[in-house]
Amino acid sequence: MTLMQKFLGAAAGLALSAGAAAAEPAIIFDLGGKFDKSFNEAAYNGATRWAEETGEQFREIELQSDAQREQALRRFAEAGANPIVMAGFAFASALGEVAGDYPDTSFVIIDMVVDAPNVRSVVFNEHEGSYLVGKMAAMASESNTVGFIGGMDIPLIRKFACGYAQGVKAANPDATVVANMTGTTPAAWNDPVKGGELTRAQISQGADVVYAAAGGTGVGVLQTAADEGILSIGVDSNQNYLHPGKVLTSMMKRVDNAVYNAFKDGPGLSTGFNVMGLANEGVGYALDENNAALVSDEMKAAVDDAAQKIISGEITVHDYMSDESCPALSF
């Protein structure tokens, strides 16, 4: 037996044993990267929480390019991973192709809807959470001008912007919302320099509170806002701790709960449409010791009141993605 054959044999044995392993859950992170302090990191935290509580393991991959989506999905499905969670709207078309080929595998996609019998589609009511922080921004603003900085210009981010603008207008109909997007390519998620420059531009237009829904770019927005002495609002994860006393609040999107639930439900989880909103604590605003001094009792009362009204249906926040238009903001 030559050395080469030995290697090949060993590799084949390894592949077989990997395939025979018990059904581990798997998670695929999107291009922003596992540790973006925001969306993907929340997904990662949910997965780790599950692993710590159960003592079991999960498989994971961080994508490097768009072309890997279908490949990564197929590889996990072939290897017997179940369920497979995808963090990101961009997986929709790849999952549409793959889901039918593996009817026994459960898939969970976050932020997008894929209609297949073995897919759970988790969507968040970001517009509701953004409405709440918009309301806080308008109440905290002294110049009656607030800013919004988005990452890549996609309908999902416009949904954040639109909910935010509605919240601002609800608290103060005369307030101005300045909205900018960082770019149109995935590079827009990781450009803190441009985020900082956009923040300065918004400050020169009078903004004194900025809301960043921009992944890694948001790190630059929060930094520049803290440097220039204005307030900022974080997104997805609780980012209040990044600049204590200078981040008004964070719009929490509990991606971690979505991932945790999916892992806990395990193979054969319930499929279909799963909406995480204010009512089931899928979204909300962050309040901790880092921003306690910034949030007045009046502000908190107003926001909690609005949250109750949204849950009871008394207030309807318009969802940009429902008709691609926004009553409170023009793009």
Binding site: F35, D153, N180, T184, N190, V193, E197, A201, V219, D227
Partner: protein, 322 residues
């Protein structure tokens, strides 16, 4: 548009043009010596990472700057070895450097700081503070010139002034010294330089090293001057815009300054769509402004506006005897 807004846009232009200008001059040295370098992006990224990391650990931004330059130099030496000593393809070596930098920065940063490929936020002496130039406050009451001096010229981080001074310095070195003459000759006709008894390899290594230093400063400026820490892929294509600016400037230092300021102005206006709308009365998609540097470079390359002729021996490894 009022005067204050104009000043703010120009101020933003200067900040955004600085990393482009440094990287563009870096490319200028390298390409004038006949070594194409599309690894500017990767070198900036590596320098941004190491400068932020070392500044965070040591608490001194100047130490961070040196570390950033060292990181960029290390990649330059790899590029030099591959393309000068081993006569490999310069474009492939450049691409490899970009990939290497994109991966290794996140990897090292994650195992070092455990903050997911970010470095800790820099504070106080660990980041560059803006300099207020002498008399800035005294001269402010003078109409027009006072605010221009205070807002536009004063109040930047030291590296901005380094970048601006690098332009006349580059011009002097390349066009007024013996070293510069030889360096340019190596990019046009290395055989002639070799015949004159001057080391082609030595000159090319020198050019690549200067390129490393300038890229290092550019990267350090991103992470410790404009921002306060490293985030993965934070160079965001600026190395490629700098290359476009280099072609736009037809490989000349003063033109490079204007090209980078122009490209910087585009990105500055991109952040103020309201100003464009007020100026021309039509809502322009900001994406168009983002694409303009590339469009203009293509126009120049196609020969519509003058002709951009690269150094003749560019991209060719020098072989002494065939």
């Amino acid at each position: 548009m009022d005067f204050v807004t104009l000043l703010q846009i120009l101020d933003s232009t200067l900040r955004l043009a600085t990393p482009l200008l440094l990287a563009c001059l870096a490319g200028l040295f390298s390409e004038r010596a006949g070594i194409f370098d599309i690894g500017l992006e990767g070198k900036m990224l590596a320098a941004a990472f190491l400068s932020a990391a070392v500044a965070a650990v040591s608490g001194n931004v100047w130490v961070g700057l040196l570390a950033g330059i060292a990181a960029s130099m290390a990649l330059s030496i790899i590029h030099g070895l591959a393309s000068i000593t081993f006569r490999g393809n310069q474009l492939i070596s450049g691409v490899a450097i970009n990939f290497l930098a994109a991966g290794i920065t996140v990897l090292v940063s994650q195992s070092w700081f455990k903050q997911g490929g970010r470095t800790p936020s820099l504070e106080g002496p660990a980041r560059f503070e803006s300099w207020t130039l002498p008399l800035a406050n005294t001269l402010e009451p003078i109409p027009i010139l006072g605010p221009i001096y205070k807002e536009l010229i004063s109040g930047h981080t030291p590296l901005v002034y380094v970048a601006l001074l690098a332009v006349p310095f580059t011009w002097y070195v390349l066009f007024r010294t013996r070293f510069g003459l030889r360096l340019r000759a190596v990019g046009e006709n290395p055989a002639a330089v070799d015949t004159a008894g001057v080391s082609v390899v030595g000159l090319r290594y020198a050019a690549v090293a200067i390129c490393g230093v300038l890229c290092g400063i550019a990267g350090a400026y991103l992470a410790t001057g404009l921002q306060a820490g490293f985030v993965k892929d934070m160079s965001a294509g600026r190395g490629f815009i700098a290359l476009a600016a280099l072609i736009f400037a037809k490989w000349r230092p003063w033109y490079a300054l204007w090209a980078c300021l122009l490209f910087g102005l585009f990105s500055a206006i991109e952040t103020r769509p309201d100003v464009i709308e007020a100026l021309i009365g039509v809502k322009v998609q900001v994406q168009l402004l983002g694409a303009l540097p590339y469009i203009m470079t293509v126009v120049i390359l196609a020969g519509f506006v003058g002709k951009a002729i690269p150094p003749r021996a560019g991209g060719e490894p020098y072989v002494k005897e065939r």
